[in-house]
Symmetry: D2
Subunit: 320 residues, 4 copies
């Protein structure tokens, strides 16, 4: 009889984004994306979408270069967190415990094989809206802002890595993440992976870094309620002078309706909508995309812009 699925991690909780232009990045996330500032500490500002239940889903930190500081997953229970820590200790991937951060309690840090920092935590601070941000309906975390793009909640992130297979095995074995879709080249090389902890079809993705650099970041994504809102977001980005890299269009992989822009610090940011698509099967069989299939472009035939395959943060010289 097959092993039972490991269900210790509940969902992607937040990520830390590094920016060399902290003031401009902050204005982008608050004024254009419509996020709410929910804390400041040191060189960091904490931000949230109106439906994120935790205090924040984005930690924006001033740094010399853009990129991702760390990603953080919330465990399903204290016991589940302990099990993950026990499994990681001594593997060489483990870093160790921290006291936590604004918004959450003690966290265990580790590194994926490509060097990205991954944080695991359970204790968290539920967002308590101040009076002026209290929603009309009590089953909502915060008032709908009616400002800019009005992003709802953190949806997923995408990292770059030299060896996708190695990272897939790490997230499967140690964190219990489930692969839902992947790209496998004709020579058997894994070129992309989409993994989930939830009924969302992915909580994070990894795609290949062709530059030889390590620990780089591709994009973070906030969810909106409809494709119509993504289209309107494109209008708002255009008016605000935010560079649009690609979209709105529909990915063949995961069928995500996407729109990619660059925030002022240089990081790629996506807004997306997936309609009512969910992965409900507990034994989902990963979809494998071939080289030939990927050459067809996006779902409705748009060719992928070159920068999407090469640009990441921090940027690498010669790879725009």
């Amino acid at each position: 009889m097959q092993d039972e699925p490991m269900l210790d991690l509940a969902h992607l909780g937040h990520l830390e984004l590094l920016t060399p232009k902290p003031d401009e990045s902050l204005r982008f996330f608050v004024d254009v994306l419509g996020m709410t500032e929910s804390g400041r500490q040191g060189d960091s500002v904490y931000l949230r979408g109106w439906d994120d239940y935790e205090r924040h889903s984005l930690k924006l930190t001033a740094a010399k270069q853009p990129g991702m500081g760390h990603m953080a997953f919330r465990a399903r229970s204290p016991q589940a967190l302990e099990r993950r820590v026990a499994a990681l200790k001594g593997t060489g991937y483990d870093i160790g415990w921290t006291d936590g951060d604004l918004g959450h309690g003690p966290a265990f840090l580790c590194r994926d094989p490509d060097g990205h920092v991954v944080e695991l935590y359970y204790d968290t601070e539920w967002y308590a809206a101040p009076p002026e941000l209290k929603p009309a309906l009590k089953n909502q975390a915060q008032r709908f802002p009616a400002r800019g793009v009005n992003v709802r909640r953190l949806d997923h992130l995408n990292c770059l890595a030299s060896d996708i297979r190695e990272n897939r095995l790490f997230f499967e074995r140690y964190l219990g993440c489930r692969l839902t879709e992947q790209i496998v080249l004709n020579d058997g090389t894994e070129a992309g992976m989409w993994m989930t902890l939830t009924n969302k079809s992915y909580d994070f993705a990894y795609t290949r870094d062709h530059t030889g650099a390590k620990g780089r970041f591709h994009h973070l994504t906030y969810a909106l309620d409809s494709r119509e809102e993504i289209l309107r977001a494109a209008d708002i980005f255009l008016e605000a002078g935010v560079p649009i890299e690609s979209g709105p269009h529909k990915h063949a992989v995961q069928q995500t309706f996407f729109l990619y822009v660059y925030e002022p610090g240089g990081n790629r940011v996506e807004v997306c909508n997936a309609g009512a698509r969910l992965i409900l099967a507990p034994d989902w069989k990963p979809i494998v995309w071939t080289e030939e299939e990927r050459k067809k472009g996006q779902a409705w035939g748009m060719k992928t812009v070159e920068s999407f395959h090469t640009y990441g943060t921090p940027p690498v010289e010669g790879h725009p």
Copy 2:
């Protein structure tokens, strides 16, 4: 330290709907809702939405009266199914094993305290589309039909019950369902409950049956990708002469964007959209709605039509 959540059931798999007008009901589900027939056996026709991954999500069975034959939940693993069966045996709620049905393997039957039949199973048949229904994108179960309302997948169902609290305890203790929202009257009586097994904010709901009857059914619901599609569905129902009971409008409870109609057999059918709303917190604290809050009507103020509080299937004389 608190107990860990029980995660043995994965999701609502299908339900059996009884109809005294099997031919007309079938035409409604196929021609108007846009579902696909995927099997016939005995007095039953098996039906599916284009994104349901299992062979069917609806078993439509000829019967003297409308109502629900049974609801079925898929377990997360064979071991998980065994644990649920072990817990149920001898409680008085258990009925026993069946050999299964078209589309799924052996199933364990039980009854909730109000008498509705609940089926648990693990082995299932993944839908294999015939050539003419193969989708263009391999991560989709079936070709988009482009016919009628084009319902995507089974979303949830709603039963009526005399004692909501008793049923809540049954689903929490024996099946590991999690309460996300409820209505509690001023005298402490529970009047409605919304429970989930997934990241959807509910997979089924129970609301009070004021007639004294047992085991009655309120509605089943298919999901569409956008609110715009729900609005278009209203146009299509109007053109097809399908009686619209209520909506499109937005529920305050769960914020579901809803539209209720009656299929020819007399059962209430809903199409809904919830946007990007998901329950990601593993420790979600149930939202409790009071009598006063419910008196405000739906989210945008529409008064709930009386029949919504009284009509169920099978119908009870004197309660239209």
Copy 3:
């Protein structure tokens, strides 16, 4: 051979709205509806939607009571304006010339049979956006505001009148307005009329005032690009504490997708969307709705709230 249609008036240009709470009304139109202030003079503030081509489409004037100050139609040419003035002079409906107002040149005033003031003008000031409101695309009047409901342009208005037929004849004979739909009761009484000067299916409507009062106002309406935006507007009104009277729903008459609220001064305000529906036929035959047909309620069956039939501005005691 039939007469040729009279085409002297081009479209509804603006209206003057009276409010006893000018500051709160202004905040509603700017912060909630997302309009832009484009001038002040005396007790009036001039406002515009982001796609109105003239300087303003709404003149908001402080007054003791809510209601409509006047409605204004732009003529198609100077010659066309002269023809309309010549036709009106001496009819008893004519008031006379004014020097114009902020945003437009000399205007001829008249009164409809119910006493509403109607202004005709040709010379107008095209809106010139200041640098911070310049749009990214040069075929757009102003930057998309990304604030609140983001109303696009003035769509239509609705007055109340004791005798609909008399007012219809006035607008047909003297102003060349074309009737597209009407309600005619079983005894032959006309109970509502929808008239147009454009390819929009109506630029204004009149419905019956049962109170015996004269010159009252029912509502003004701004257009949004999609039904999805109307639904989002409902969320925004809910969050802002703006009272929603009715909707979102679809009228049977004209098939308008509507949402009615009250602005702080007491006037009814609508946001609407009509999709791609246009009246292209130059010889459109008016649609006549009977009493029986109107009793069916709105397009999808929602019953019309009572206040919609009785409340107008200024309010009349005993008719809430």
Copy 4:
């Protein structure tokens, strides 16, 4: 004082499309686009969208090569038609009267300077829906089909021409069409024109034919109610194996939300949505786009595919 605008033509009524694969083209328009057949005569099938008020908006005619047979404009009155005929006679552009066709009465034919045939008519047959296609709401021409893309009504067409300026002058002087947007190259050459007879921002467009061929056709366009429906149309085209050339995306010119495909006969077909955008100003000043502005690509930055600039029907060898 300036001349008054000429308003003799009301709107684009229909066009005749030539196809070398009449059966496959017919299946495309009926099964995929969701149009309704409303007549047959000779080698032609007559088709309509569900909101076209005339009997047909498309005459599909078997021919050796794809392309446009003729375009047809409905006059605003019999007198208006006579005035246009009087103006055209003897200009060298005039062809003469025909007895009419299925669906409309006597028509006057002429040729634009590039050789496209233009038909003018007034008498028309209003569509009378057979019982099974009667709509639920009497202000609608036909039941919503709920099949395929469900195109609503003919929106516009686009021809190719060697000399845009010459064609612009023809349509302005003889037919009273109004220019709303145009492309003018740095050397003063006009490279594209968008003209209207209505409040729609264009009823037809002409863009440059670089091949030296004459009388060629670029595309015809049907309108849908929302951008969401255009996105769903892309899914439906993908499933049906219809080649998508470009989109969905937003044009900078006219801000049309577009999606271009090829019908089986080789003609380019577009579905579009323009939201609530209308040209209400009777004295609209044409928007002039420069070479530099056009190089920016579409509204949200997508580069225009090469075939869009070169392919037309009938095709010209060496210009795919």
